[in-house]
């Protein structure tokens, strides 16, 4: 089986992190974002993964080759010379996808959840039509496009930002499609959600598969942190042995074995500590991700932050409110950062009192 992951462009929504490396390689819970999907696909028997990207990045090409070897799967990059939307990349990769005339997966790259690939295959085979999309329950359907479907899963219609309640299920960005769907897609910028799926619904060719458990689009910092919390909770129920337990650790905390944590700290709940991170004494961290090689000096207080690779946070710094430090940022001692998005290689010597971008 094959899968196509829609990576798209520069990942601007996840800046400043994506200024330093391609989004698929940004670590989510100590693993490159794309590897969460790649590993689950491999487990479901996928042998060939195509990454659809609309920009060229040497770093990505090298990493993809290496990660593919490690995961035991062939990973191909499919480059768009112009952005082709969410359907055009399927036409571009047509030759790869039709190779063995089997159904293939299509994934939005920003999605994290407990990937139900095997159940999707079973469901898809059972209804026997052209396509299956995964749907997930949301609390506020009016913010999204919702999916209305029958008890057997056959989709009746899509309703964009419904004013009155019609459904609380939205497109979760995971599909399994027959190769015949490719006949519906031309090689031009096309939206799979707005152009292809409605046509399939018209032909009774699209079914909905209900996702159990957590789901999050982690394409921007705020959701990245929410997704991290959901992932850690899921991990604590499924593989609690992977979580870190020690004095000063509160709730679900993931700590890379090479990280060091000082005395008198309170870390957690919902914290991810990356490789070679150093947390000095007397630090309090909640709901945050510390990326590889970052240093948190003593007596800091961090809540809802992403600390970029090799960044240093000085003593008695307070950071909160979805503060994101890019790569190699230095926050000087005793600074307060409230909702700052700090671009790479920057030294912060003055407090950031209100949310803003620091160029």
């Amino acid at each position: 089986m094959k899968a196509l992951i829609l990576v798209g462009g520069y990942g601007t929504r996840l800046r400043p992190l994506t200024l330093s490396r391609p989004k698929p390689l940004v670590e989510f819970c100590n693993k490159p974002m794309m590897m969460h999907q790649v590993e689950a696909l491999v487990k479901a028997g996928v042998k060939h993964i195509i990454l659809a990207v609309s920009y060229r990045a040497e770093l990505l090409e090298e990493a993809v080759a290496e990660e593919g070897r490690r995961a035991g799967v062939k990973i191909t990059l499919s480059h768009e010379t112009e952005p082709l939307g969410t359907a055009g990349p399927l036409a571009l990769a047509r030759e790869h996808l039709i190779a063995d005339n089997e159904p293939f997966f299509v994934l939005n790259s920003d999605i994290v959840c407990e990937f139900p690939f095997e159940q999707m295959i079973a469901f898809h085979k059972q209804h026997g039509r052209q396509g299956t999309i995964v749907v997930t329950r949301v609390e506020e359907p009016s913010k999204y496009g919702v999916v209305v479907y029958q008890r057997d899963g056959k989709i009746e219609r899509f309703v964009e930002k419904p004013v009155e309640f019609v459904s609380n299920r939205i497109n979760a960005g995971l599909y399994i499609l027959n190769t015949s769907v490719l006949d519906r897609i031309e090689l031009r910028p096309t939206s799979i959600e707005k152009e292809i799926f409605p046509a399939m619904v018209g032909d009774s060719d699209l079914f909905a598969f209900e996702l159990e458990g957590f789901w999050m689009d982690v394409g921007q910092p705020k959701d990245f942190l929410t997704g991290m919390c959901l992932y850690l909770k899921w991990l604590s129920s499924k593989s609690p042995e992977l979580l870190y337990q020690s004095e000063g650790i509160v709730g679900t905390v993931l700590v890379h074995p090479t990280a060091k944590i000082g005395a008198n700290c309170r870390i957690g709940p919902h914290v991810v500590v990356g490789p070679n991170v150093i947390i000095e004494d007397g630090v309090c961290i909640k709901r945050s991700t510390l990326l590889e090689g970052s240093v948190i000096k003593s007596h800091c207080w961090l809540d809802s932050c992403i600390v970029g690779w090799k960044s240093t946070v000085g003593q008695w710094v307070r950071m909160e409110n979805t503060t994101v430090l890019g790569e190699d940022v230095y926050v000087k001692d005793e600074i307060y950062v409230n909702g700052g998005k700090v671009l790479p290689h920057k030294a912060i010597g003055d407090s950031i009192m209100e949310p803003q971008i620091i160029m």
Binding site: G282, W301, E320
Partner: protein, 422 residues
């Protein structure tokens, strides 16, 4: 023989110093370890020939007299508190108590407004005063201010050679002079003759011309009834300029500024008072005063410009800079306190951040003074200021409190920025 008079005002004055002046009279507010007014008293007591220091104000006697008595013993000099029956103005008090001031026939007396701080050259000021022609009845200590800031003070125009004051205007609307009145004077007892004449003139003002209250008829202003009247009237007032540290203490923010400068004076003249780095105590940066009865964890880092009062408890890994921590306050582990006054008996939790914005003089401008900015700006928003915790305030753990003023006996349960918390 010399005397000194310090005008300490009363409870209706110093409201800009709230909420700290709720708990004790503003003159007794501790800066660099001792009450504000004690710095003035000590400076006066060190003047050659000083026999007695008189405090005049309208605080109830029991609030001031015990302090005056204790200090008199410590300094071994006569200190008396004379209570006005009402606010009599900046010259009404001394006129009312003129007999006490003149008793013993002093050559001159020093007169200081209680709401200033500074490093006053009092001996030189007295010498200068006594060297002037006998017509001189008051010598004003003056200092330079910027053009913009000068208009917030009493402005002095004077003869550059003779230092005679030619013109005096209190808070003019347009620029008059860079030289401003420091609120520190040396007066001859002849002053009371002049004040007597002014007083008499007021009693004869037609009825209805004033509000007619007794207070107003009794009230005399040093600025309007003395300095304005004497300027340019035959060498009766002179100015002596200083460029040493000087500031008014109007707002709580200026207490931080005063604290820093008094600590600097300790370092230059009496460094034994300051905390020493090492010796099993906390890490000390710059000028720091720690009361011997304060309990500070050795892992804390204190300074610069911090005064910590008696019975304060400071936890592990705490950072304090540019702040006053008053008696019995507690600061929890890993918290940061900066540009802040922590009131008596207040309690800050762990990993909290209590921070204000300093309102220091512009360091890039010569002669710039501390801005005594009003609480609110033109848009009705709170001006960034130092953070002040009144007494018995509780700040929860992990909270942030920035540029805020918290009134006494308040248990905060969240973070605040730029707010007055009633």
């Amino acid at each position: 023989m010399l005397k000194a008079v310090i005008l300490i005002g009363g409870p209706q004055k110093g409201t800009r110093f709230r909420p700290l002046s709720f708990d004790l009279p503003k003159p007794l507010f501790p800066v660099a370890g001792v009450p504000m007014v004690q710095h003035l008293i000590e400076a006066c007591s060190a003047v050659k020939g000083m026999k007695e220091i008189v405090l005049i104000g309208f605080y109830p006697s029991e609030q001031i007299a015990p302090f005056a008595q204790d200090l008199a013993k410590t300094l071994n000099i006569s200190i008396r508190y004379l209570q006005e029956f009402a606010a009599l103005g900046t010259a009404g008090g001394i006129f009312h108590f003129r007999d006490q001031i003149c008793s013993g026939d002093p050559e001159a007396f020093i007169l200081i407004n209680g709401d200033v701080c500074g490093d006053f050259p009092l001996d030189e000021l007295v010498d200068f005063h006594l060297r002037q022609p006998s017509s001189n009845i008051i010598t004003v200590l003056g200092t330079e201010a910027t053009r913009q800031q000068s208009v917030n003070y009493g402005c002095i125009a004077f003869d550059k050679d003779r230092k005679e004051i030619l013109h005096y205007v209190e808070k003019p609307s347009t620029f008059v002079s860079n030289s401003i009145n420091c609120g520190v004077y040396v007066c001859s007892t002849e002053l009371f003759k002049h004040l007597g004449a002014e007083y008499k003139a007021k009693q004869h003002q037609p009825h209805g011309y004033t509000t007619g209250s007794i207070d107003e008829a009794e009230s005399l202003s040093l600025e309007y009834d003395v300095l304005v009247k004497l300027a340019g009237s035959g060498a009766r007032s002179h100015v002596f300029l200083t460029d040493r540290f000087w500031s008014q203490i109007k707002t709580a923010g200026s207490a931080i500024y005063a604290n820093r400068h008094y600590l600097e004076l300790y370092r230059l003249r009496d460094s034994g008072k300051l905390a020493k780095p090492g010796l099993g105590g906390p890490k000390v940066i710059g000028d720091v005063l720690i009361h011997p009865r304060a309990a500070i964890d050795p892992s804390a880092v204190i300074g610069p410009n911090v005064s910590i009062s008696a019975d304060v408890r400071v936890g592990r890994g705490v950072r304090i800079a540019e702040s006053l921590v008053l008696g019995k306050a507690t600061i929890g582990d890993h918290s940061l306190v900066k540009n802040c006054i922590v009131g008596w008996n207040s309690d800050i939790g762990s990993w909290s951040r209590v921070e204000g914005t300093p309102c220091d003089p512009n360091p890039n401008k010569a002669f710039s003074k501390m801005e005594n900015t009003p609480l609110f700006n033109g848009d009705g928003r709170l001006n960034p200021s130092i953070t002040v915790l009144g007494s018995n305030v509780t700040v929860p753990s992990e909270a942030v409190l920035i540029n805020s003023i918290v009134l006494p006996h308040k248990d905060l349960n969240q973070s605040y920025k730029n707010e007055i918390i009633l």
